[in-house]
Every structure is written in C-alpha cells, then in structure tokens.
C-alpha cells in the first residue's frame, strides 16, 4: 500500500489502531523526518534492535504519528559500526532516545551534539550493550564509577543545587541539577536512568502471554494503559482478531477509571503543594473510595492485570455496574464543589497562574504531549484523533487550554476527569452483551505489531515482535514522559526554586516508565 502522506510503500499492520510499517535506507532518514516535521507529524518513539540473529546487522526504529495512522519506520544498519544520521535537530525529543538506543543496543547517531550516555550509569561499562543478543541477561559487571558532566552555568552569583536521586518526598528517584541566582532558576538539567532494571531484556525471556504482566508493571500508575497497549500489540501480531464488543467497552471503562484515579490524586497534591492541605485530604478521600470499589469490582485497587491479550480478565455484573455508576455520581458532585473551592481560592490561584509556563509555540517545538501538551494548545488525543472502539461511538470531547501554566494543567485535569466520568457512564449504560475474552492463535515467528493508547499522562506505545514458540523477540515500550521530561526543563526557567515541586507535580512524569 502507498501512504497518503509520503511517497512510501508500506505494509499495513493489522490491529485495532491504524498502523503501517516500512523499511527505509539510512540516507533517506533525515529527508523523511524533515518532511514529517514540516507537516507537524509528532515523533512518538525511537529505539534500536539487534538483527544479527536474523542474518542482518542492527536496526533503528522510529514511530511517527501521521493523520492516517502510526508509521513504524525501520532503518537497517550495518553489523560493523552501526550508525545513522541523527535527527535530534529535527525532533528535539529524539536526543535522549538516540542516546538510550546507543547505551542499550550500540547504534550510533552521527552528528548528535550531545554524546553523553543517558540510561547507562555504572551497572555496565561503555562498549557493552545489554540489548544485543550476545549479551546474557544474567551478566553482572562490578559497579563502576559513574561520571556524568552536567552543563555548567557561569556568571556572578550563580550557584548549583543538586537534588536526588533520593528525593525529600515520596517520589521516584532521579537527579535534578539546578543552576540558580538567588531563588531564580536559570537552568535545570535532569539526569534519569536510576530505575533502569532491564525491563526490555526481561521481556525477551518471556512468552507473549507472560509479557502482559510485565507490561502492566512498567509504570504502576499507568498499568491499565500499558496492559491495553501490550494486549493491542499481541492481538495485532496474531492477525488483528476482532474482540467481543463487551471487551472493548470494559477496556474503555478501565482506562478511564485509571485516568480519574490519577487526576484525583494529583489534584489533591497540587493543593497540598500550595499549602492547601484541605485539597489533599478531600481528593485522596475520593480517590480511596474509587480504589476500594476498583478492588471490589475488578480484584485490584489499581486494576493491574485486568486487561489481558484477548480481552479482559473479569466481567462486570449489572449490580456491579450500578455500584460504579452510583460512586461516580458521588465523585462528580464532590469534585464540582472542590473545583469551585480551588477556583475561588486566591492563594492557590496566585501560585498556579503563570507558574511553570510552556507557551504553545515552545510546546509544539519540543514535542510536548499528553494532557500537558493539551494544556499548551496541542489539540491531540488518541481517543479523538484515531477514534477506535469503544471511543468511536462516544464522541470524546477533546479538552485543551492555551496558557500552558500550572493553572492550565489543573484546569485540563479537572475537565478530563469530568469527561472520563461521562464516558464511563455512557459505556456502563449501554454495555454490550456477549463475551469478554477470546483465545488467541499462535504467533508466527517474526511478525510484528503495535499498541498505542492514550493513557492518563499521554500516549503509551508498544512495539512488539514475536520470536519462536510464541516468545517475545523484542518489545519496546515507550512512555510519554520521554517527550515531557525535557519540556519540564524549559517550564521551570525563570521560576523560583520553591515552585519547582508544584510545577513538577503539575506534569507528574514517570521515572520508571522512562528508565525501563
């Protein structure tokens, strides 16, 4: 098939989401990326793979979002000195992904100005690449010194505050290097990778079925979105089978429940971070009510392992659907009251408004995504742009804002929470009858599939390739935090240090989902 957007012959990947795959020569890479960038097609993910067992060398992979669907580009690279022309000047978010692809697979982005390592610290030496097929997962190198040169900011009165990896609050580990004058932040530089625990290598020791559980533990707060994306990829691999409509509806309910729980929790913390502890207690009461009902209805407070390849693990009885409807109505009423309290609280609004601002032009340039992107004018939501079942029938309302500050992200979270309640109510009231899970056929060795889901934080993407005997040959998982972590560095410039926790929480990015 020929693509509508590019003169490119592609293979159509079966599955829920529209997706295409094509192989291009490294010499065509930059031209194609520049063309895609000029048409404002976002870069979703970039990763590498070892193809030496298949008789090749290595490969670079890119996922680009075109209006007609997801384009998975593969660039074959040589076995000796695998390298390709870097694209970080075209897509700034590619910089860290290129460095990670080098650390893990040893494919080198030429002319990338930043040559520093990214996910590698001291657990394995330079020149050794864990995702290569000749690297055993059990390999243990003695811990080595970790040297990472941060960019120094010079000037009178400039000093540095190093924070982390162990933070002052209950947060995931990462390092933040602030360069400040007085209280004002001149520059923030992040160092991530502390949580790298070999997830992608671990996938390669599993069957496609076993991998579902691991996918649900890439980032615990997005377990439903990852489980769905992974299931979608497996279903794509076995030929894009049609699931029962009831399974689609239940998946939609689960994903929106995850979105509601996360927004409730973060709205509470956003109050807490501006000294309004009232907000924390109120929202966490509502969140807890929902988590308890989740446990009762689906067997898990965070809905882990509720979505499985082939459908969902548990059906919902009518009496349970009624309980959920009742609970959502209560939450909706309470949130309406709490929103008016937040809106009218001068102290909170003073801290929210014009803090941590990413104006739309900057957000577009650096590729800000997810609800944070929508808070900075990016009118993009997979549930709207590629409206698959069960969203197709619901008419999802896209929520967006243009100011791009903490207040905008708070506002978008409130509105998305309300929209998710509406979506679940619609799904529950017209829940199709029928089965909830079907058996999957065996996967043919070498087939590939993708999963692509609008999680609460943004677009979760899975690229999966089957090996022999239904095993995972390669699984790449991409968290939207890859795009948004660099954006946070821009959002804090010119703000005061005490506003950093507030700005950070307004994005609430995943470390685990990024570090893998």
């Amino acid at each position: 098939m020929r693509l509508a957007e590019f003169p490119l012959d592609v293979q159509v990947l079966p599955g829920a989401m529209p997706a295409f795959r094509a192989s291009i020569d490294a010499s065509e890479l930059r031209g194609l990326c520049q063309e895609a960038r000029s048409q404002k097609f976002p870069l979703i993910a970039l990763w590498g793979s070892d193809e030496t067992q298949q008789g090749g060398g290595y490969a670079l992979h890119l996922a680009l979002a075109l209006p007609s669907g997801l384009l998975w580009l593969t660039v074959p690279l040589a076995r000796e000195h695998p390298r390709y022309p870097g694209i970080a000047d075209v897509y700034p978010s590619a910089d860290r992904m290129q460095r990670a692809a080098y650390d893990l697979v040893g494919i080198h982005a030429q002319d990338n100005p930043d040559r520093r390592k990214w996910l590698r610290h001291g657990a394995w030496p330079g020149g050794v690449f864990p995702l290569r097929s000749d690297f055993s997962i059990a390999t243990r190198f003695p811990a080595a010194e970790d040297h990472y040169p941060f960019v120094k900011v010079d000037g009178e009165g400039v000093h540095e505050i190093p924070v982390g990896p162990v933070h002052a609050g209950t947060i995931e580990p990462g390092h933040f290097r602030f360069s400040i004058v007085g209280e004002k932040i001149l520059r923030l530089e992040e160092r991530l990778g502390y949580k790298h625990k070999g997830i992608e290598k671990r996938f390669e020791t599993m069957t496609l079925e076993e991998g579902a559980k691991l996918a649900g533990r890439i980032s615990g707060d997005s377990t439903v979105a990852y489980a769905w994306a992974y299931a979608m990829a497996v279903e794509s691999i076995v030929g894009g089978i049609e699931l029962p409509r009831r399974a689609h509806a239940l998946r939609g309910i689960l994903l929106e429940l995850e979105r509601i729980a996360n927004h409730l929790g973060d709205l509470g913390y956003l109050g807490n971070d501006v000294g309004l502890s009232f907000g924390f207690f109120q929202f966490w009461r509502l969140k807890e009510d929902l988590l308890r009902l989740n446990a009762q209805l689906f067997g898990h407070r965070y809905l882990m392992d509720a979505i499985v390849p082939g459908g969902v693990a548990k059906d919902l009885l009518q009496s349970e659907a009624d309980l959920l409807l009742d609970q959502l109505q209560k939450i909706q009423k309470q949130v309406t009251t709490l929103k008016s309290i937040y809106d009218e609280h001068a102290g909170a609004q003073d801290r929210f408004i014009m803090t941590g601002r990413l104006p739309p032009e900057l957000a577009e340039k650096i590729g800000l995504t997810g609800f944070a992107g929508r808070s900075s004018g990016n009118r993009r939501d997979l549930r709207v742009n590629y409206s698959i079942s069960p969203y197709r029938e619901l008419g999802v309302q896209l929520v967006s804002h243009t100011r791009g500050d903490v207040a905008a992200r708070v506002s978008v979270r409130f509105d998305e929470l309300a929209e998710s309640i509406r979506l679940i109510q619609m799904l529950l009231r017209q829940l199709p009858s029928g089965g909830t899970r079907i058996a999957l056929a065996n996967a043919a060795h070498g087939t590939a599939g993708i999963g692509w889901v609008e999680g609460w934080r943004g677009e979760i993407f899975i690229a999966l390739e089957a090996g022999e005997n239904n095993r995972v040959r390669r699984c790449h998982a991409h968290d939207p935090s890859w795009q948004n972590w660099p954006a946070l560095q821009y959002a804090v410039i010119g703000n005061i240090v005490p506003d950093f926790p507030l700005i950070n929480k307004s994005f609430n990015l995943s470390y685990s989902g990024h570090d893998l």
């Binding site: 657990a123 864990p130 070999g198 615990g220 929790g265 009232f278 009461r285 882990m304 685990s512």
Partner: protein, 168 residues
C-alpha cells in the same frame, strides 16, 4: 472560605482503625532495646526510598497519609532526610543504579535504625528478578527487619509492616 469550611464539616472524620502488628512479616529479630520501644517506639520518623519500583508501591505509601489511614495520628511521619529518620521504607527491586544511593542512605540514617521492605519486588525482586541492572530484593543490599509482600501491598499492609517493625 465558607464553602471550604462547610465541605470540611460535611465530610466529617473519615479515619478508620489502625491495623495491629503481624510477627509473620518479621525477618530479623527486634533490634531495638525495650526501653527505646517503650518510650520512643511510636514516635517514628520514616524516610522513604524508592530504589527502583514501578511506582505502584509509592501510590499506596502516599495513601497511608490519606484521611482513611492517617498514619500521622499514630505519631509516625515521613521526613525529608535519612539523617532525621528512624526507619527506612524501601521499595524495590533495587536497581543497580540505585544500589550506591540506597547504601549511602542507610549509612546516613543514625543508629538504631530499622528497614521495612515494601512490595513483592522489595521482598524478592518480583517480576523483574535479578539481572544485569537489578539487584533484586532490598535484603540483597541492606539488612531488612520486616518485609511486606503485595503488588502493591495495601495501605493497611504497609502500616502493619511499619507497626511490626516497632513492636516488641
């Protein structure tokens, strides 16, 4: 302000009963002397360390401070530095990139100190196990007094683990 106060009054007190200690969770014999337990046992300062989790356990640790569980009413609170802490609450698996930071945090915590490992991964390495980038369980890196299984353990189970660590 009226609306805020009205909301507080209408919500009422939501805090529920605290769990009791469960000796089955204990790994090392009690390291604190009886006198310390009698006088200071319940005035506990906790430093949380995420040593490589999927962040699921962190969600439940946050929830222990929510109104239903209200950990602070027991005199137990989270502090910002290991130097202020009596107990480390550690989630895992311990990534090799966090191994040094965890050991340094342990060393920075004044004696006598306690460690509670949280979650299946903190207990055993969980689904991630041990590999080139993961040390597995917390006990593989620092001494662990009490281990609380679960994926993630519920807020009550986490509280129970903490209370077990300071029980006689």
């Amino acid at each position: 302000m009226y609306q805020l106060l009205k909301q507080i009054a209408q919500t009422g007190i939501k805090t529920e009963a605290a769990p009791t200690a469960d000796e089955a969770l204990r790994i090392l014999p009690q390291r604190l002397q009886e006198g310390i337990l009698r006088y200071l046992g319940r005035a506990l300062a906790i430093r949380h360390v995420d040593a490589g989790s999927c962040n699921g356990c962190e969600l439940e640790i946050h929830a222990t401070n929510s109104p239903y569980y209200n950990l602070e009413r027991l005199g137990i609170r989270f502090v910002a530095s290991p130097r202020h802490a009596d107990l480390l609450l550690v989630t895992g698996p311990v990534s090799r990139h966090m191994e040094t930071a965890l050991k340094r945090t342990y060393e920075a915590t004044p004696d006598p100190k306690l460690v509670v490992a949280i979650g299946d991964c903190g207990c055993s390495g969980g689904i991630f196990g041990e590999n080139y980038a993961s040390c597995g369980s917390v006990a593989n890196v620092i001494p662990v007094d009490v281990a609380v299984p679960g994926c993630p353990p519920t807020p009550l189970a986490i509280m129970q683990g903490i209370l077990t660590a300071i029980s006689k």
